[in-house]
């Protein structure tokens, strides 16, 4: 355990100091890695901890982004206030889906399909919603990009990097705390054998709902970040099932249910994606779609040969704990 803490401290220090050596495009890549590490951890709470496979997490990113974005666009309401609305809406949505699923005994594949259906339904819905700009999208005014203005969440790329770093670190701390707590034990028990868990006095419905609420709340925050980082929102893009798949790629490759898996997976994937782009450019193979083919192949290879993700095996080799 001591070794793990040391490794963690080193990693944290490296990430804090990273902007000293890295600028511009590379910094934005780093921010993106942290974004996927964060959303991956949020998703991991529902899947890795409570065992519910959600393939529609883009729903929460999108609703969170649009909620805060629309409030800013129409009423000039800043991101900090918008954040609470975003979280509230996403939690309510998550609880709705959870209630419908758990009360009616929908699980496994059917639950996953239910989440997809909700995300798709919302995507098409937002396409027809004029108040948020419809399919043409919504564009947020960017006041300035120089000075750190946390109140309005405007500033240089550096500010966004540290924000995402803070969020990812916070998520990590939260998840490790949860895992060791009663919630963590109960979620694992529910995941392993729900009937046995009930026989031990666990109200499985309530605990599953809690996981859903936490997961959707965390993802909502990512949505708000997304809105004020990219400043343009399109239903086709943000609610698309590809976004949902992107969110889960990190944890699955890194290791579902582990603390460090989502972070590792996000790093591996983003760097790989970039690396492939560079390689293809060098080879002169720049047709549309070829990068994703490579992506898919890598994914396939990892899934076939490393079913528990990269982290568990790596952790054992490095002699670390979790």
């Amino acid at each position: 355990m001591k070794r793990a803490t040391l490794g963690l401290a080193i990693l944290a220090a490296l990430l804090v100091l990273l902007p000293a050596v890295v600028r511009g495009y590379a910094l934005s890549v780093a921010t993106l890695i942290l974004y996927f590490a964060y959303t991956g951890q949020a998703w991991n709470v529902m899947m890795g901890f409570a065992g519910q496979l959600s393939l529609g997490h883009s729903l929460y990113v999108g609703v969170g982004a649009y909620a805060a974005g629309a409030l800013f666009f129409h009423y000039g309401i800043g991101p900090w206030a918008g954040l609470w609305v975003a979280i509230l809406l996403c939690v309510l949505l998550g609880l709705l889906i959870g209630f419908l699923a758990f009360r009616f005994g929908i699980s496994g594949v059917y639950f996953a399909l239910l989440t997809i259906a909700f995300a798709e339904f919302t995507r098409i819905g937002f396409d027809h919603l004029d108040w948020t700009g419809g399919p043409g999208g919504m564009f947020l005014r960017v006041a300035q990009r120089d000075a750190w203005d946390l109140a309005h969440f405007r500033g240089p790329p550096l500010m966004y990097y540290y924000t995402m770093l803070f969020l990812t670190a916070g998520a990590f701390v939260l998840c490790s705390f949860l895992l060791k707590s009663k919630a963590g034990y109960y979620w694992l028990a529910i995941r392993e054998n729900e009937e046995a868990a009930q026989a031990l006095g666990i109200n499985t419905f309530r605990w599953k709902m809690l996981a859903v609420a936490i997961s959707s709340a965390m993802t909502a925050i990512a949505g708000v970040f997304f809105a004020f980082y990219y400043n343009n929102l399109f239903p086709e893009q943000i609610f698309h099932i590809s976004r949902s798949i992107e969110i889960i790629l990190g944890p699955i490759i890194g290791g579902v249910g582990t603390l460090f898996g989502p972070i590792l997976g996000a790093a591996v994937l983003t760097l790989l994606s970039d690396g492939i782009t560079e390689l293809l450019a060098a080879l002169g193979w720049e047709m549309p779609g070829i990068k994703q083919v490579f992506y898919g192949v890598v994914l396939l290879v990892v899934i076939v040969f490393l079913p528990h993700g990269i982290w568990p095996g790596l952790a054992r080799k490095l002699g670390l704990d979790r």
């Binding site: 798949i245 779609g289 083919v293 898919g296 899934i303 079913p307």
Partner: protein, 289 residues
């Protein structure tokens, strides 16, 4: 908005729905037996459509002719995919299975994008322009023939499962995997066979579909979702349910496109999915788990 416009649109939707039904039938068979969620189903359909386009462009093969070699090829491909790649995943957690097929789907969709580019492709045959008329009611010839083929293929599959020894063996596997093994059935081979048959269904559906719509690589994921909606609405494990679901979806999409905005018609499908999952999760004709 005359009544015969509505009826014609409804008929077109119904006939298209039968082709959807065949596609969903393939999925139902695969999921019902092998219990693997084929997330690449729509992508396979798209590949079949492109294959038909290619055979038509290069050798002027009519889709009704091209369907034979394409279905055969898909059968072999499906068999190999199940036996080779998917088989070890049957005992693994669901998210692993899902992701395996998602990876396959990603490779397929983008492989198509690389090979054919993003532009729409189609086949042009004479009978696409012909139709039969009973008064003001029109039946597109191409649509009618495609639906007929879909029905024929479904009937053949149904007969196979009902009357042939292998078909019964496969149903035994679906009912009780361990029991089937105990009585000496080669479950791995039967699973692969089933995947092959499901793939062949998709191939036939694809060859027929290209007569009705243009194909682009991005159709893949849309068809995958559609197939799942149909199977769930119609009932997992019910072959008639897949066809019924297909017809229902085809009909509601066509009518929704007419009465509401065309772009909103998928919402109907998803709304229906959510409703069915809540009210009657085993689907219209499915058996309770």
């Amino acid at each position: 908005m005359t009544w015969h416009l509505v009826v014609n649109v409804a008929i077109a939707g119904l006939l298209t729905g039968l082709v959807y039904g065949l596609m969903a039938l393939g999925l139902s068979v695969i999921f019902g037996v092998v219990r693997v969620v084929n997330f690449a189903h729509g992508e396979m359909m798209t590949i079949a459509m492109y294959a038909t386009v290619t055979l038509f462009a290069v050798w002027q093969l009519d889709p009704f002719v091209a369907v034979v070699p394409i279905a055969a090829a898909f059968f072999v491909f499906g068999y190999l995919m199940q036996a080779g790649i998917i088989n070890p995943f049957i005992t693994r957690p669901e998210h692993s299975q899902f992701m395996l097929l998602v990876a396959v789907a990603i490779i397929m969709v983008n492989g198509l994008m690389v090979s054919f580019g993003p532009d729409a492709r189609n086949v042009q045959v004479d009978y696409q322009l012909e139709s039969y008329a009973i008064g003001p009611i029109l039946f597109d010839k191409a649509r009618l023939l495609a639906a007929g083929m879909a029905l024929a293929a479904s009937a053949a599959l149904f007969a196979f499962f009902r009357f042939s020894l292998t078909g019964k063996a496969i149903r035994a596997c679906a009912d009780n995997w361990l029991g089937a093994k105990v009585v000496g059935l080669d479950v791995k081979h039967l699973y692969a066979l089933t995947f092959g048959l499901g793939s062949a269904c998709v191939a036939v559906a694809g060859s027929m579909m290209i007569l009705l719509v243009d194909v682009t690589p991005v159709l893949g994921p849309a068809y995958t979702l559609l197939a799942f909606v149909i199977v769930i609405v119609g009932g997992m494990g019910s072959m008639a349910g897949a066809l019924l679901g297909g017809v229902l979806i085809g009909l509601s999409e066509a009518l929704a496109g007419l009465f509401i905005q065309p772009s909103a018609k998928s919402m109907i499908s998803f709304g229906l999915l959510i409703l069915v999952l809540l009210v009657r999760p085993q689907g219209l004709l499915g058996k309770k788990a």
